[in-house]
Structures are given as C-alpha cells and as structure tokens.
Amino acid sequence: MAVKVLPLARTTLLDMYDRLLTIRFFETRVIELFREGVIRGSTHTYIGMEADAVGCCAALRPDDYITSTHRGHGHCIGKGGDVRLMMAELLGKATGYCKGKGGSMHIADIDAGILGANGIVGGGMGIATGAGLSSKMRGSGQVCVCFFGEGGFNQGALHENANIASIWKLPVIYFCENNQYAMSMSVQRATSVSDLTVRAAAYDMPGVNVDGMDVLAVYEATHQAAERARAGEGPSLIVSKTYRFEGHNIGDPQPYRSKDEIEEWRKRDGIERFGRYLIDEGIASKSEIEGIHQEVHAKIEDAVEFARESPEPELSSLEEDVYA
C-alpha cells in the first residue's frame, strides 16, 4: 500500500477502517431494505468502491466540500455524513437529511460540506467548480472534490468546468471513479482513451492514476491534489481504478459483464486488504478489528431502527422549501 505521506495517526487509520465498513454495512442493509420494499426508487450501491470515498475524504479538512453522484452513499459517509439521517432519508422519513423529499440521489449535508448526491450524471461538476470559485473568492482555503464516474467523463459539463477551473486556478479536485462501467456501457466502448488521465493535459492539470482498492493510495493522491489546490496552483484530476461489486442498481441482471470478472475484482476488495494491512503492520489487533465490525454493525442497526421509527413527513410539507 502507498505510504508516502504516512505514518498517519493510528486513530485516523482506524477511523478510515470504520468508515470503509460503515459504507459496506450500510449498503448491504440498503439492499435488504430495498428488497423488503421500504426503500423505493432507484438505489445505486457503493459496494466495492469504499476505498475511494474514504481515502479521499480522509485527506480533506472538515470544512472542505465534495459533490457526489447518483452513487452517493459512500461519499456521504466518507465525508462524515450521519448514517441515521441517511437511512431515514432512504426510508422517506421526515427525520431524513432531506425530510424525505430527496431520497438516495439527493442526500446532502451542507454543513458537512456535502453539496449533494446528484441524479444527473455530471450534475455536480458545475456545483463543484462554483464551490471552488467561492472558496477562492472568500479566501477560505477550502477545496472541493468533484466525484464522478468514468461514464460522466464524457459529459460536456466536465470539459467546460475543468477548463474554467484551470484558467482560474480553482481549488477543485476532479475525482473520477473508473469502475469500468456506466450501466451497461464499458469504459472501452464509451471512451476515446484507455488511460483517462490523458485528458488532464487538455486542461493543463496534473492527472494521476490511483488504485481505487488501496485506501492509502487514494489518501495520498488526494492529499497532494489538495495541497496543490490550497497553494493556489489550481485543479487536479485523479482517476481511480475501481469496481462496483453489485449491479448498477438493485435488480440489474448484468448481461454486460461476466461472473468471472466480478469474482476477480472481489478478490481485490479494498476493505479486506486494509484490514489485513492494519493487522500485519501491528496497527490493530484482530480483536480490535472485530470490535470495529461489531460497533459498525450496531451503528447501522441503530440507523435502521431510527429510520423505521421515524415519522413520515406531513403532507403539508409538500409545498415547503420551494419559493417560486
């Protein structure tokens, strides 16, 4: 695993492990609750990609921003979102992040710098660039990470915003999660280049490939990009090579990829790998790791219970929070 900026504090490392697991357990429960019928709509799980969000967000300041995607639960947990409020939102409850109005694709926590999941592929790119502009104009030193999938890389919004961020030297990190597919469309079929970092040169920004199954490598890459951003040197592109272990959404029969391929990737699971690392390096004992599992499990169950017991929004809330 990448160790350039390490050693990180032990508490940081354990917190990262906690977050990785939190995402995995959260999503696992989401699948169950979706099948149970208490979560509706379209839900895209982050299972397999946890190291991206956790490694990246661990390298950020609490007041930094992120913009997320339709596959947003991981980013939200990574950046410090509250699983109770998330789960309540998924169950459409009044106590949820969005008072039940947003659902999976619109969870946001402005105070935690989470500028929202997004149902529009590429929809976060302008918001991220604007957040970078705002940080710069306010002199706040905040950076904004713009998460997007490799499928989203072909949206015009990326081009326009990356150019703007570059010429204005905005503190934005374009973080492309290349999980190999956009629904049924493989990156090979959809995209003109096989190494996506080639596109960074078009915006005169550094572009680095990173192993998205290696949480520390992701941390490292983000850390460097954030330093650069805070130093006023402008945006960066990070391309993480990762994989979603589950279908695009729940119910996807996945005719576009083989079971073997999925199995191959599952073997590289970033959470297992990081767990082994913590033990091998003597950072945590096996029983400490197990303790985290239990804690996280309890936390998720608590969130589910909180969500289940929370009230539905009042019908009167329908016309609240819109002013035109």
């Binding site: 709509g41 109005k101 959809a190 995209t191 005719p255 576009y256 019908l315 016309e319």
Partner: protein, 343 residues
C-alpha cells in the same frame, strides 16, 4: 381505441392482440427498421442493458436483430446524442435517438431547439430533419425531482417540433411509426408508468397520423382532456361518475403539436364544460395552452371556467405520499369532474 384511419391489418382486418405499451413501441421500431434501412436507434444503454436493450425495455432485442451499426449504445453525452442525431437526419438518415429521462433533455435543448427545429426554416426550406427523440416522463417510481418531471410544455412552445404523448399501446405504436416517417423533428414522449399497461393493438401494419385526437369515451356533460396517465384516470372517473348521472367525454389529444383543436372544440360545444389534466407542473403546463385555444374557439359555449387538474408547483419529492400528492390522482380527477357539473 384503434383509430379509424388505421390501415386494416393484412389478412385479418380487425384482429388485435393485447400487448403492452412497451412491446407496442418495440414493434413500431422493429417494423420501421425493417422497412427502411435509414432508420436506426441510438442512445444510452439501448443495446444490451437489462433484458436486451433499453432501461425500460423499449429497444429490447433490436441489437440482436439489427446489430451494432443500427442499434448504437452511446456515451453519456445527451447534447452529443441529440446533435449527432440531427446531423445524421439532415444528411439522409432517419435516426431515432433515445434520451433516457426527459429531465436529461435539459442537457440537449440546443441541438433540438436551436438546430433541429429551426434548420429547415432558417435554410429557406432546403433541409429535411427526420429525427425522432424518444424519451419518457412522469412521476410514480420514487425517483424524485430529477427523474420524474413532465416537460412536454417546453417542446410544445417551440415552432418546428412535433410532440407526441401516447397513452395506450395502440396509439404508442401507430404514432411512433408516423413520427419515424415524418420529415420533421418529433419529440416522442412516453410515460414511465404506462410501459407495463396493456391494451388491444391491431395485428397488422397501421399508422396513426400526428394531429388527430382520439375520443376515448363519448359523453355529453363534461369534456375531459387528459395526457398520458390522466387518460385512464379520466376513463375510470367517467365510469364512476356515470353511476352518479354525470356523462363524461374523454379526449386524448395524443399529439400536442399538432393539436387537434377541432375535435376538442366539437366536444366543448356539446358539453360546455372542460377539465384538463396532466402531471406536469400546473404553472406553464399545456393545460393553459389548450384552455386558451378553447377560449379562442368556443368561449361562448363555455358554461363554467375551464378547470385544470395538474401537478403542484413543486419539485417531485421522493416520499411516496408526497410524490402522490404532487401529481393528480384518481380522486382529484373525479372531484374536478364532479364539481364542474351542476347538481
């Protein structure tokens, strides 16, 4: 109901089958692609997603039959998809481009509105733009504000674009075939909650001309004009209200551009009362336009103000109850019809 103008199906002139809206659309695409080699399909996940093509299955099996040249999975590039389709249309092809959700048309308005819709006119009539943009709209699946809008009003406003909004399998098939044969841009707007609905569809070849409303039920007390899901809600309401002695005429315009105002006016002259229903946000929705045209053509026949039953002016919320409250339900239609007819 199958339209009177349909060509009788070969062999068995009156034969129909019960098929779904999604399969009716699929048949239309398949038949037109067989008939005309210039017709092809492009869009995100149209080839191999799910059960062999299309997020809602409209293009299923086409890739198997027609191959990758004529069933093109595209990158996620809505502006590029529509732009490319328009360019192909101007140069001799007849593309049918799919935009997965009408909400994403917000990314592709320029190539349709500023290019496709206007080229022919701007060029003094010298270009033909036979392009169909297929998409779907509507609430009901709990996918919230960016995947549930009904935006037909945007397109209805722009000269040069025809707008189809079929509500039944038979209409969906017949209109899509006409749209593909049209030499002008057509926004073909399906509804996500209709895909699974079934209805009788003629067994043979037929088309339904654009610009012909369908009187889905005759009645004498009030004219109900509905779009998409509102048509069946109107029919159900009509049955219910028949028991109360209220006789509802249910009209489905089927195409908003051209709008068959004659059929609507004929009905209004008979009933004197009108309810217009759609899921789209009430403010600026097409109900206002239809009402305006009724007023322009039949004001003196109106015995009561035209009533609209439409989406609330809020983004569509995720929560089931809120989502239901945001768009008209059965009861809203029944109440509007009941209230407009004097007791």
């Amino acid at each position: 109901m199958p339209d009177a103008t349909m060509a009788p199906p070969a062999g068995s002139p009156t034969a129909t089958r019960e098929i779904s809206y999604v399969m009716a659309l699929n048949e239309a695409l398949r038949e037109e692609m067989r008939r005309d080699p210039r017709v092809f399909v492009m869009g995100e996940d149209v080839a191999i997603w799910g059960n062999k093509g299309g997020v809602y299955g409209v293009t299923q099996g086409l890739y198997e039959e027609f191959g990758a040249e004529r069933v093109r999975d595209t990158p996620i590039s809505e502006e590029g998809i529509v732009g490319t389709a328009v360019g192909a249309a101007v140069t001799g092809m007849r593309p049918v481009a799919e935009i997965m959700y009408i909400d994403f048309m917000a990314l592709a308005m320029d190539p349709l509105v500023n290019q496709g819709a206007k080229l022919r006119y701007m060029f003094g009539g010298k270009a033909r733009v036979p392009v169909v943009i297929r998409t779907q709209e509507g609430a009901g699946r709990g996918i919230a504000a960016q995947h549930s809008q009904s935006l037909e009003a945007w397109f209805t406003h722009i000269p040069g674009i025809k707008v189809c909004v079929p509500s039944t399998p038979a209409d969906a098939k017949g209109l899509l075939k006409s749209a593909i044969r049209d030499d002008n841009p057509v926004m073909f707007i399906e509804h996500k909650m209709l895909y699974a609905t079934k209805g009788p569809v003629p067994a043979g070849e037929y088309t339904i001309p654009l610009g012909q409303a369908d009187v889905k039920r005759e009645g004498s007390d009030v004219t109900f004009i509905g779009i998409h899901t509102m048509v069946s809600k109107g029919l159900t309401a009509a049955e219910k209200l028949a028991g109360e002695g209220i006789d509802v005429e249910v009209i489905d315009p089927r195409t908003l551009v051209p709008l068959d105002i004659e059929t609507i006016v004929r009905s209004v002259k008979k009933t004197g009362r009108v309810v217009i229903a759609h899921e789209a946000y009430a403010r600026g929705g097409v109900a206002g336009e239809i009402a305006m045209q009724i007023m322009e053509n039949a004001f003196d026949y109106l015995d009561a103000p035209i009533v609209r039953v439409a989406g609330r002016n809020v983004p569509i919320p995720y929560n089931l109850r809120l989502e239901r409250a945001a768009v008209p339900q059965e009861d809203d239609v029944v109440n509007a019809l009941r209230n407009i007819v004097p007791r």
